[in-house]
Amino acid sequence: MLEALNLDCARGRRRLFEGLSFELAAGQMLWVLGPNGSGKTTLLRLLCGLLQPESGQVRWKGEDVRDSRESLHVDLLYLGHAPAVKDDLSGRENLCFGLAQSGIGITPHEADAVLGEFGLAGRETVPARALSQGQKRRVALSRLALGAAKTLWILDEPFTALDAQAIRLVLGHLTQQLGRGGCVVFTSHHEVELEGHAVTRLQLAQ
């Protein structure tokens, strides 16, 4: 479903990768590995269409992403480094507005349920400014619980600063996503294992 063909990318003077290709079918997970600065985040942003490669193509469901950006975005859920959480809005509001932007409408009740699942019960209406960094990350991650409609999940360091219970929660959602026939591309410094699903590795050279 997701294909990268001969991607060439440079940031400033540094050539990050050349001739990078891979294919990801439905129900598969891709783990992008590499030391800091090897271009993991750049590759993920490239797959989202936020960056353009110097040469090569990214194809989603057979179509070049450059030609039909909107059809990729309909299926895409992206969690970047920044939690994309507005300090002046509550967790509930952040979730509702954030998903609305992605084309998914949810009720405040649904938002609260999901926030509770991620350990934020009782703090749904607190402005995000009053939440800790870890809690803000959980607000961002709770979109995974409501992202069933999105076939492609691209997650940049989703496991950072999470405790064991939260990691299990996220892994659970990833398993469900794969079970539905969706794809996941992620980066992580921690070893990741999913029951019943093999993880394809993509190592970015130094």
Binding site: L89, Q101, L146
Partner: protein, 227 residues
């Protein structure tokens, strides 16, 4: 969970930005009071002679509106850029051009519309005749959205740059000049009792051009800033 079409997404973005602006009321009020103070400085610095005030009023109010509008532009995209929300906006299934209009609309409601409403009162300070006060408000009503739409392009181009405020002024003020010219001259014509329809139609044309080209250019600038 329900899938959302263009209109609900548009409305959600406007609602979100308005909510944010209401919670950060100080930012909004600062722009407003800046406008009021700048306008009030001119009689102090120039003259309190009624006839002179009447002739400089259109230009003074309009230049103050330009400066206030420009000051407010730093709030349009920069906070979203910093916390990652702008990135998510660029990944929305809805066309970014449409979402730009939503953001500019919310921005104008909070920083442009208050200027339109207070301007007639400020016009009284300059001893403007009543018919001119109405024209003043009308030109600002048509002109300030223009300023927001054009300014959004500059705001998007200068995202994440050090010294963005000064650079934004340099980039955007020359583009504001036609709106300034037609807006101020319409009010001057009204003061002199002459017809304003010609000026207003050109101003309206500026708004139409800004509405068609502005969001498109802002969307392109946002995508460039995302790279």
């Amino acid at each position: 969970m329900t899938p959302l079409g263009a209109a609900p997404v548009f409305a959600a973005i406007v609602r979100r930005d308005l909510t944010l602006a209401l919670r950060r009321r100080s930012d909004v009020l600062t722009t407003f009071f800046f406008f009021v103070i700048v306008v009030s400085l001119f009689p102090l610095g120039v003259t309190t002679q009624s006839s002179v005030l009447r002739s400089i009023a259109p230009g003074v109010v309009w230049v103050a509106a330009l400066l206030a509008s420009m000051l407010a532009l730093v709030r349009l995209f920069a906070p979203d850029f910093d916390d990652g929300t702008l990135e998510q906006l660029a990944l929305s299934p809805q066309p970014l051009v449409v979402l730009m209009i939503a953001k500019v609309l919310a921005h104008w409601l909070v920083s442009g519309l208050p200027l339109v409403l207070i301007a007639p009162l400020l016009g009284l300070q300059f001893d403007l005749p009543v018919q001119a006060l109405g024209i003043l408000a009308l030109t600002l009503l048509v002109g300030t959205p223009c300023l927001s739409l054009i300014g959004a392009i500059g705001a998007a181009l200068t995202l994440g740059i050090r010294g963005a405020g000064g650079l934004l002024a340099l980039l955007v003020l020359p583009l504001y000049i036609p709106v300034l010219i037609f807006g101020a001259s319409a009010v001057s014509a009204a003061v002199g009792g002459m017809s304003v329809s010609g000026h207003l139609s050109v101003l309206g044309a500026c708004l139409l051009i800004a509405l068609v080209l502005g969001p498109w250019a802002s969307a392109a600038a946002v995508r460039i800033a995302m790279e």
